[in-house]
């Protein structure tokens, strides 16, 4: 058979068929420097969080008010905070909290947003109602909603997580919905209708996989912004309590000593910025790799 070579290799001369290669074969050798570094940093932070109980030199809430605001020393490499707690230990444990907030927000937002988006994309009646609610929720500034929820319900790790996640849900719903709306026009979805597949089957088998790539990208942004939002909530006095260290509340407590003991804000800040930076770089990379449109454009 005199088959044509695949369109991907032909360049602009090819017919305008969009090759939806949604299962990217990642060529390890071609991975760029920045994403690799980002993955390594993020990996280290995750390890630090997971093994915090093993590697942290002290209990993060064990205080010694008489030795407060100690300078960096061999015993306390990052110094001690206003209660004489070890900043290194707090930062390591803080990684736990911040990652729980970030990943948790991303996970829950997707978990709730995905089914709502699928339903909304497929049922017009439901769509009308759901989208009004989502629009309403989206119109309320996320931070205000979060402060209100935390202030009103109480500021534990879980309420903060909920407060940060709720405003993210409409964005996920909208994203999934838009993917569904365009994917349901795909010929292979029509083909599935033609072979008599039921609606749930079409949704699960043909539509949901399409949402995965954009959802992964979106999830990275939700994750990053959740970690930041947690820090901002701490700044505004509506964050997680001091007995559960998070990068946000360490920095927020440390901000008073910004000029005198910059380490209190510098170390958690460094971890936080590196973490967000890495997540964002990975998110961007994921988008570049997974966006078929962009992929095509780059090859062309």
């Amino acid at each position: 058979m005199a088959d044509e070579t695949t369109t991907a290799a032909t360049g602009p001369g090819a017919k305008p068929v969009v090759r939806r290669n949604l299962l990217p074969r990642i060529d390890l050798a071609s991975l760029k420097f920045a994403p690799t570094l980002a993955a390594i940093i993020l990996g280290l932070i995750v390890l630090a969080a997971v093994f915090a109980p093993l590697i942290a030199p002290y209990d993060p809430i064990k205080m010694d008010p008489m030795a407060r605001l100690g300078a960096a020393s061999f015993a306390h490499p990052f110094g001690t905070d206003g209660y004489g707690r070890d900043v290194l230990s707090r930062t390591l444990y803080g990684a736990q909290t911040s990652l729980i907030v970030g990943l948790g927000a991303a996970f829950v937002a997707v978990l709730v947003g995905l089914p709502l988006g699928l339903l909304s994309g497929f049922f017009r009646v439901l769509d009308a109602v759901l989208m009004r609610v989502m629009d309403g929720l989206m119109a309320i500034p996320a931070i205000l909603l979060a402060i209100a929820i935390v202030a009103l319900v109480g500021s534990s790790l879980w309420t903060v997580l909920v407060a940060i996640t709720i405003p993210e849900i409409p964005r996920v719903v909208r994203l999934v919905r838009s993917v569904v709306l365009s994917a349901r026009e795909e010929p292979y979805v029509e083909a599935a209708i033609a072979v008599g597949s039921s609606l749930p089957k079409i949704m699960w088998r043909h539509l949901t996989p399409n949402t995965i790539a954009p959802l992964i990208v979106q999830a990275t942004y939700v994750c990053a912004s959740a970690i930041l939002t947690e820090a901002i909530l701490s700044f505004l006095g509506a964050g997680i309590g001091t007995e559960t260290p998070s990068w946000g509340n360490i920095m927020s407590e440390g901000r008073l000593y910004f000029q005198l003991k910059p380490g209190l804000i510098f170390w958690p800040g460094l971890f936080l910025s590196l973490c967000i930076l890495s997540i964002n770089i990975l998110g961007d990379t994921a988008r570049d790799v997974m966006d078929p449109k962009l992929g095509k454009k780059r090859k062309a």
């Binding site: 058979m1 001369g13 083909a191 996989p209």
Partner: protein, 561 residues
């Protein structure tokens, strides 16, 4: 190899010598392996080849428009009026474009900037390359727009691209390319996206202007019919090489290379297939006064909807093929989607083996679905890229209660039936070529054992050689299984190859309906005639390497009647 002479012929507008283009990145792969060609003043040279042959890369390299980082010229020369564009500086290259060489592209829809007026887009060519005053520029723009025979030039100037038809846009592109009267015009599949009637007008326009301005044209196409109509000389490309070149007559009559021969024999000719005996009179699909109107009313106001189809009456009997032909917007796809119930018709009836399905609910429709299946236009998109071939093929049977094992066994048989190895079942669509994917799509449709197969432009996206193979396959399957085929196409030549009966549609209505030989041989309606006349290369009998004996309008081949 032919066409590889390197001695300069004085006065050639374009000389490409041993051009090698490679992909960028760490492991460069060659795309062009030493391409040489030349274009003399006033000449029309066609560069033909199937997708992936490198013909467009050649043209982009000439314009210096290879995508940065992705493709690069690694050796060879490209001389435009004697000046090497490969070694030219970017600014020099910019000066050369539009003044000495211009290019028009395949998609007039996307080649014009949607947010700028036509005048603005023409004007910026003039201001970039000339010292003309504003008034001069304005009058020049109006002149060139008249030259490309655009109506109401003042209105055109103010218009945005989306306000023009496809043909008008391509005229604007031509005007833009020629406004500074360059010596070389490169046309990259400029008519592929257009309807045949429009294609014909554009080809004529290019020829006229060429005559008037003495421009040389390098015309890139995959359509041998177009080549036969316009070329002075032809280069045939394959896998980044020129495999054959020569004057048009020589290539058509006496191709030297097997590849060229195959390419020519695969071109469907506009003479209808031999009439087949009816194997049955059983009507499997019929429509009565089928109509589809979009957006009839909204919540706030009543408005006239867009009529996509109206009063469509069709009958399809077992084992037969009914072609629906028409230009874009004629409603042929609407009919296909209505009978598939992918959209719900607003009026009329559809009977599938005597069962009315036009008004059935989704649930009630389910048993009927099995009996009518569809093959979609774009095989790259009609298969879910994430599912294995086996999963795609067995999805339908499993929906209707087949056991996964049985469905899988059946799928393997079907894959062999459509000419693919049975072990293809565990692979993913991206591991196959376009033609192979269309075979998979056919296997999927057949897995349901339907009575009716709807093929919506099923071969339009394929290269001619592949197209011929798929048409053969469909024919073969029909002979074996007796399935009825509703074949939607814009290409009369393809319809002629495969259909027993033909429906010609225009503006959502049926214009003419009858046996293929009759409709194509003795068209009763002016519109049908127009379509036939516009078909490119209709004077040439490609498979037999000879011109067709009779002039247009008459019987194409006496044997069929």
């Amino acid at each position: 190899m032919t066409g590889q002479e390197t001695n300069d012929r004085k006065g050639d507008v374009l000389v490409v010598e041993n051009l090698v283009v490679e992909t960028g990145g760490r492991r460069p792969a060659p795309i062009l392996n030493g391409v040489s060609l030349r274009v003399a003043p006033g000449e029309t040279v066609c560069l033909v080849g199937e997708s992936g042959s490198g013909k467009s890369v050649t043209s982009l390299a000439t314009m210096g428009l290879l995508p940065k980082g992705a493709l690069a010229v690694s050796s060879g020369r490209i001389l435009v009026e004697g000046e090497d564009v490969v070694s030219a500086s970017p600014s020099r290259l910019r000066q050369l474009r539009a003044t000495r060489m211009s290019m028009i592209f395949q998609e007039p829809m996307t080649a014009l900037n949607p947010v700028l007026t036509i005048e603005r887009q023409l004007e910026e060519v003039l201001s970039a390359h000339s010292q003309m005053s504003g008034a001069e520029r304005r009058s020049r723009i109006r002149d060139i727009l008249s030259l490309v025979r655009l109506p109401d030039v003042e209105r055109m100037c103010r218009s945005y691209p989306h306000q023009l038809s496809g043909g008008q846009r391509q005229r604007v592109m031509i005007a833009m390319a020629l406004v500074l009267e360059p010596k070389l015009l490169i046309a990259d599949e400029p008519t592929t996206a257009l309807d045949v009637t429009t294609q014909k007008e554009i080809l004529k326009l290019v020829a006229d202007i060429q005559k008037r301005l003495g421009t040389s044209v390098l015309f890139i196409t995959h359509d041998m019919g177009v080549v036969a109509d316009i070329a002075d000389r032809v280069y045939v490309m394959r896998h980044g090489n020129i495999v054959e070149d020569g004057p048009i007559g020589d290539i058509l009559k006496d191709p030297k290379r097997d590849y060229t021969r195959n390419l020519l024999t695969a071109v469907p000719a506009l003479h209808p297939r031999e009439a087949r005996a009816r194997i049955s009179n059983e009507v499997v699909l019929s429509t009565t006064e089928l109509g589809m109107t979009y957006g009839a009313s909204s919540l706030f106001r009543k408005r006239a909807g867009t009529v996509a189809a109206k009063d469509v009456n069709l009958t399809l009997t077992r084992g037969r093929t009914l072609g629906v032909v028409g230009e874009s917007g004629s409603g042929k796809s609407t009919v296909a989607r209505c009978v598939m119930r992918l959209i719900d018709p607003t009026e009329g009836s559809i009977r599938l083996r005597n069962q009315e399905i036009a008004g059935l609910s989704r649930r009630a429709l389910r048993p009927a679905r099995k009996r009518i299946q569809m093959i979609f236009q774009d095989p790259n998109r009609s298969l879910n890229p994430r599912l294995t071939v086996g999963d795609s093929i067995t999805e339908g049977p499993i929906n209707y209660g087949a056991s996964p094992d049985a469905a899988r066994t059946r799928a393997k048989e079907l894959l062999e039936l459509v000419g693919l190895p049975a072990d293809a079942i565990d692979r993913h669509p991206h591991q196959f070529s376009g033609g192979q994917r269309q075979r998979i799509a056919i296997a999927r449709a057949l897995a349901m054992e339907p009575d009716v197969l709807v093929a919506d432009e099923a071969v339009s996206a394929l290269d001619v050689s592949v197209q011929a193979q798929v048409l053969d396959l469909l024919d073969d399957i029909q002979a074996r299984l007796g399935v009825a085929l509703l074949f939607i196409t814009h290409d009369l030549r393809v319809a002629a190859q495969i259909c027993d009966d033909v429906v010609v549609m225009q503006h959502g209505r049926i214009v003419e309906y009858g046996p293929t030989a009759e409709v194509l041989g003795h068209p009763r309606e002016a519109y049908t005639r127009e379509l036939i006349e516009a078909a490119p290369g209709r004077h040439w009998d490609f498979p037999n390497f000879r011109p067709l004996p009779t002039p247009s309008g008459g019987p194409v081949d006496g044997a069929t009647l």
